[in-house]
Chain length 222, copies 2
């Protein structure tokens, strides 16, 4: 049984490493797309498309990637349990802050182009996910950090915190993929290099999400 556990520990840590690889691959592909094909990113630009480009960058790198790293902090950070927990909390807080800027960027873009806000499935899923994410952070903070709840309460909330976090991760992946597809459809790209680049970016984000989820899930079976 100890051999089994050791095997599991090793596969779980291997999954965490591969998750990092796909997380960074998605970041590189996204940057190649935004910088090479889409004219770069600048929140204060007068070119509305450069303002828009801040949105996918911050929603992936600022929000999803940071949240994923936060979820894996218990495996990747050295130190005591409290250090891991603090890193977990801070990375999620960072994800919320960068996510807010990313959301502002797309509303600014809509203002500049006089476009409607919040009509597509992407925006509904995205805003729903972001709101529930903030709620999950607040409940998690009040339960596990300050004012820390009693042990029975913490034990009761723990499974919901884990399962809710994993559901939110997948919801944010759904938001990212619908967003990429919406943009690709608007641009009316078919079998071009750019279209394939967007697809590979989406696939890398999906695989990152699955691997972060698996690395958390596998820890439950040890």
């Amino acid at each position: 049984m100890d051999v089994e556990r050791e095997l599991f520990r090793r596969s779980a840590s291997r999954i965490t490493v591969v998750a990092h690889v796909f997380g960074l691959l998605a970041l590189v592909l996204l940057l190649v797309w935004l910088l090479h094909y889409r004219g770069g990113l600048d929140y204060d630009s007068e070119n509305s498309y450069r303002v828009f480009n801040v949105h996918p960058f911050l929603m992936y790198f600022g929000f999803i990637f940071m949240a994923g790293e936060g979820m894996m902090a218990y495996k990747t950070v050295f130190g005591s349990h409290d250090v891991k927990k603090l890193t977990h909390m801070l990375l999620h807080l960072l994800a919320i802050c960068l996510g807010v800027v990313g959301l502002c960027a797309v509303f600014k873009f809509h203002d500049m182009e006089s476009m409607e806000d919040v009509y597509s499935l992407h925006s509904w899923i995205g805003i729903g996910t972001f709101s529930l994410f903030c709620l999950q952070w607040l409940v998690g903070f009040a339960t596990f950090m300050f004012p820390r709840a009693s042990k029975p309460t913490r034990e009761r909330i723990f499974p919901w915190h884990i399962s809710g976090g994993r559901a939110l991760l997948y919801m944010s992946i759904c938001a990212a993929l619908t967003g990429l597809l919406e943009k690709a459809t608007f641009l009316d790209l078919h079998h071009h290099y750019e279209s394939r680049l967007i697809n590979f970016t989406g696939l890398s984000i999906l695989i990152f999400g699955i691997l972060v989820d698996l690395s958390v899930a596998m820890a439950r079976y040890r």
Copy 2:
């Protein structure tokens, strides 16, 4: 601790009931969309759009809904463990069969309209998910049904079967949402009734997926 367990058992069974509600709600919304706004569905029609409509219907009701019901079979089916396991396997087999017809429908539509196949992120995610789903079914069948593997092997594969199944569920939800969004973007719908109907259908499918996942996840903590 027994009170805790009883509370958990009750929340898990409540989640399963609500999952059914959202699964059926998504089906009703999808049918209203396809029958009222999109001219109905017919695989043998000469109207290519009626052929296309078979695709979203079967990929949701045939594939995702059946697979979700299959995942929850251990909670919803009365009888011995073997009866539950057989139902679990058969519902997933049915999902594969209906999924194949759903996939054929969209290729037939592309043929009729002389459109390119497999260029969008939706199609990449969809085909990837379907292929991995068939692989998961085959590995599951060979490990847990016939020729049943030895106990240590079954125990080693079990966590991967559960976690892989949950990942595949979310991948299929991603495929469904990107598909709905792609169609909505092609139709260039904004703040119309139809656009909102598609969004609510997508949200119901997402909530169905999350609840199926939670009902499986919560069972792990009992």
